[in-house]
Amino acid sequence: MSALLEVKDLVVHYGAVQALHGVSVHVEPGEIVALIGCNGAGKTTTLKAVSRMLRATSGAVSLAGEDVTGLSAHQLVGRGMAHAPEGRGIFLNLTVLENLELGAYLRRDKAGIAADLEKAYTLFPRLKERRSQVGGTLSGGEQQMLAVARALMSRPRLLLLDEPSLGLAPQVVETIFAVIKGVNSEGVAVLLVEQNAHKALMIAHRAYVLETGKVATEGAGKDLLASPEIQKAYLGG
């Protein structure tokens, strides 16, 4: 079986500054893959270039065998890639329900959308309580729940998550990670960018360690967790 996501030699520039120096990663169907690394290592940049929020200088991205390098971000959503961007990017002036409905923007199967809406409320009961509140009045944790739930509303094959634990209380982080694991066990592949390397490696099947725009190490989540070098550099051990 070919990889669900195959990223080859991705190079990205911000103006004259080169942020990625040829990053290659792949995600197999049903996998959770984590990208970890220090600030400025290129984690978010990689994710944005994959979902075409950013234009890559060179490199190729293919989704389930199809070359999607030249497509734009909204076309990728239709092909099963959902991106919950860093800083959540929810619609602050729209209600929780409207946010979720927009997540299913490209879908036309009303029954399926209604079912997925119920499912989102089951995953995050808090969102059901807040469904008629506008996004801007939610707490940070609730906004992150909404961002994840909204990304799932497009019924993706691949979910891109950027720093879902950023600035959240430990308990909320537990909730979010439990949902990520649950969603993954139903077959959705996840590409996860995380500052919180420990948490990410705990749930990831595989992980890539980025350093200054390059892949420094890759391996199974558990192996990296146990590796003394990684512990020293990223896990404060």
């Binding site: 971000a73 909204h74 959503v77």
Partner: protein, 321 residues
């Protein structure tokens, strides 16, 4: 079924418009036409500035395109000897207005495709530039009458035509807002990056809104030209564009009824303030400053008149229980 519902305002409106046409004395009629044209302009600009959150400053440019196109066509057709003038004139006018809308829409497409890829203030600058380019081009084209413009435009615009135009603009805006496309436009206004991440073709939708808006600006131009019987570049300077922007901002970005209300208010107050016409821009600027300080979302905000009625009823019900 839904198509019928959209036709209903026209069916009901026509006899009312006809009665107004019969009743209105000329000095009232000219005010009503001005109000109507401004309502068309404000409601259509609202599709871009309000619904989609893009800032266009070139509405008068599209008006000019519509006005010149329509005037050229009605003048080219002229009078007919064999067909009754009622049928012939209105038929020609209808075609001319449609052509004006089409031409303005085409210009909207030309300006929109390159500039709507950009984010933020670029659109304002590009559309303002377009407005001036159109004006200068017309002033230097002798076949369009140069700086003096085209005079002797036939008096085809009646209150009925203007009224139908107003209805068309409002019905289109409302249908657009309540459709999936409207959802996409609102998502773009709220957060363009997030909208793109939801699968909304942001550039495509912005261009569509822009083209539709330009078409109705062209309609407004065509109607105005055939009422004042003169089409000159002076009628379509950026001052006119800003006037429409003020209406949209005053009414509330994204509120259809707000745009209608503001257009009626500003146009009729201008008539009352004829004596101080030279202070028009000063009054507009002051109005904008006061509004931005006291109510930055405009009088109606994102809401419509009927939303207020709803929330008022809810509040009363809560107070009673």
């Amino acid at each position: 079924m839904r198509a019928w519902k959209s036709l209903l305002p026209f069916v009901l409106g026509l006899p009312v418009l006809w009665l107004i046409q019969l009743w209105a004395p000329p000095q009232i009629a000219i005010i009503l036409v001005n109000i109507g044209v401004n309502v068309i302009l404000a409601v259509s600009l609202n599709m871009v500035n309000g619904f989609t959150g893009q800032f266009s400053l070139g509405h008068a440019g599209f008006m000019a395109v519509g006005a010149y196109t329509a005037a050229k066509i009605t003048l080219a057709f002229g009078e007919s000897a064999s067909v009754s003038p009622l049928v012939w004139n209105n038929g020609v006018f209808f075609i001319a207005l449609l052509a004006g809308m089409g031409m303005a829409a085409f210009m909207g497409l030309l300006v929109g495709i390159p500039s709507l890829r950009l984010r933020g203030d670029y659109l304002a600058i590009v559309t303002l530039g377009f407005n001036e380019i159109i004006r200068v081009l017309i002033e230097n084209m002798s076949w369009l009458g140069g700086a003096t413009g085209i005079s002797g435009v036939p008096p085809y615009t009646s209150l009925i035509w203007v009224g139908l135009g107003v209805l068309a603009a409002i019905v289109t805006a409302r249908r657009l807002l309540l459709s999936t496309h409207g959802r996409a436009l609102l998502a773009i206004r709220e957060d363009e990056v997030a909208a793109e991440a939801m699968g909304v073709d942001t550039t495509g939708y912005k261009v569509r809104a822009f083209v539709l808006s330009a078409a109705f600006a062209g309609l407004g131009g065509g109607l105005l030209g055939h009422y004042i019987l003169l089409v000159t570049p002076k009628s379509f300077t950026y001052v006119k564009s800003i006037e429409v922007v003020v209406m949209v901002v005053l009414g509330g970005m994204g509120s259809i009824s707000g745009a209608v209300f503001a257009a009626v208010l500003l146009t009729s107050s201008l008539e009352l303030l004829r004596g101080v016409d030279q202070y028009r821009m000063v009054i507009y600027s002051l109005l904008l400053v006061v509004l931005m300080l006291s109510r930055p979302t405009g009088l109606f905000g994102h809401r419509e008149v009927w939303d207020f009625a709803k929330s008022w009823r809810r509040k009363r019900a809560e107070a009673l229980s």
